[in-house]
């Protein structure tokens, strides 16, 4: 099984589910790519923890204003209708349930929606950032991730083994192979790559995939 979606394609797929005018927070790193793939005619408003609503793309190299950055410390620009606010107000937006969607990366997602994405265990230097707040704030918490780790182990698991970010918080996972909802404590398969059999997908998934209704083809254009 070598065929899989690229990170850009996973981000593209996640972007298709973001409604017009949604307020969205994208985790730092890979999830930031989602902003690039909004379908034409839709315009989400992006929130960054460090106090900006309605920021836009990165400026051209050399045009950066380093007082205008996102949570990943990358330079951004403003769209018309932007606002600045302090960190307490920013996390009031998060914790208070005002965001429509948060899209985060993951080390592991459990079938009950538990998420581990902040610590690889006691050896490293722990760094949590805003992830633990985001998983309890947004109306919908989605994860984008490769379906398996670099050494081929499942990232979708029965129980997380790494330190948790939040309990029962993820509702949808977009992977390199499938789109999976978390409902009633189970992984419900919604979409999978057309060339992939259910058995092949189950073999790289650490908990049972439930079929409830149609399983659609997961198809993404060539994007980067």
């Amino acid at each position: 099984m070598t065929e899989k979606l690229s990170n850009a394609q996973i981000a593209w797929r996640a972007a298709q589910d973001i409604e017009d005018e949604a307020y969205v927070n994208l985790g730092i790193g890979f999830p930031e790519m989602v902003a690039k793939f909004q379908p034409p005619g839709r315009q989400a408003i992006f929130h960054t923890e460090n106090g900006i609503l309605n920021f836009g793309e990165s400026p051209a190299a050399g045009e950066e204003d380093w007082d205008l950055i996102n949570a990943g410390k990358k330079a951004v620009t403003l769209k018309p209708g932007a606002a600045f606010f302090n960190h307490a107000d920013s996390f009031a937006m998060v914790r208070g349930g005002h965001l429509d969607v948060a899209i985060l990366g993951a080390y592991e997602v459990a079938e009950n929606g538990d998420l581990a994405n902040w610590s690889t265990g006691p050896k490293g230097i722990p760094a949590v950032g805003g992830a633990m707040d985001l998983v309890h704030g947004a109306k919908r918490v989605a994860v984008i991730t490769d379906h398996v780790t670099k050494d081929g182990r499942p990232k979708l698991v029965k129980h997380c083994t790494l330190p948790l970010t939040g309990l029962a918080c993820v509702t949808r996972v977009y992977t390199s192979l499938a789109v999976i909802d978390i409902e009633g404590g189970r992984f419900v398969l919604r979409e999978k790559l057309p060339g992939l059999s259910l058995e092949q997908l189950q073999a790289v998934t650490g908990a049972e995939l439930v079929i409830a209704g149609t399983v659609a083809d997961l198809v993404a254009p060539e994007v980067s």
């Binding site: 017009d20 900006i52 609503l53 309605n54 009031a92 208070g96």
Partner: protein, 240 residues
């Protein structure tokens, strides 16, 4: 994205019997008189909404605004810090007749409970009211040897607010001390309805000057000729 609606009737649509309403303003500063009167118009035409719980610092003044809502019989309960005013007849009569309930909350606790409602903080501790009648029945705890009272968040179904500028995305500024509770209420209500003296396009408000970011705002209606409650009071106005 365009959160503006055409008129006041559309702005106050969807407010139903039994809802909790937060209404901005401290005295007349920030009172959304036109939104309130539009809601009274609907009540008079349809008999609804009634049995409302209204959250405001005060409990109405004279025969306009919240006082007129009370007069009309729309309000079952007031949550406020100070149910007195220059002319508190509307509330006083109903209260003494047992026709309206009252929850008195210290002003800072009221502000903080609303702020907590918007910020996802279900409970907090405050020194305010410890040992007084207003702390009765509430959990207490000591921190560093000092006693505190546990208070709960306060949320609303709808907030009715008055802003100075709004852009079509719902970013707001306020005028002077008309700001008061409104930025807190905007965040604590499921639906936040704003009458703005002027509505501008996105970009028409400096991002540094935004007081309430649009994420907290649901609907905006322009009321260019908005009246100040205190000024109406001094003219002896009544809305009946």
């Amino acid at each position: 994205m365009d959160k503006t609606v055409a008129d006041l009737a559309a702005a106050v649509a969807g407010i139903e019997d039994g809802m909790v309403l937060m209404i901005g303003g401290f005295g007349g500063a920030g009172a959304p008189i036109e939104l309130i009167h539009a809601l009274i118009d609907r009540f008079k035409a349809t008999g609804s909404p009634k049995n409302l719980t209204v959250v405001n610092n005060n409990a109405g003044n004279g025969r306009i605004g919240i006082a007129a809502m009370i007069d009309a019989g729309m309000v079952a309960k007031m949550i406020c810090s100070f149910p007195r005013s220059a002319d508190p007849r509307a509330f006083t009569e109903k209260y003494l007749a047992g026709e309206i309930a009252l929850e008195v909350v210290p002003q800072g606790t009221l502000a903080e409970r609303i702020r907590a409602g918007g910020a996802g903080i279900p409970a907090f501790y405050t020194p305010t009211s410890f040992g007084t009648d207003l702390a009765k029945g509430k959990p207490v705890a000591e921190f560093e040897g000092r006693p505190y009272v546990q208070e709960r968040w306060l949320k609303a179904d709808v907030a009715l607010l008055k802003a100075e500028l709004a852009d079509t995305q719902g970013n707001l500024t306020y005028r002077k001390a008309a700001r008061n509770f409104s930025p807190l209420m905007a965040a604590a209500a499921a639906v936040t309805v704003v009458q703005a003296t002027k509505v501008v396009e996105p970009g028409g408000i400096d991002p540094e000057a935004v007081i309430t970011p649009g994420i907290f705002v649901t609907r905006v209606v322009e009321v260019a000729d908005a009246r100040q409650e205190e000024a109406l009071m001094r003219e002896g106005a009544a809305y009946a």
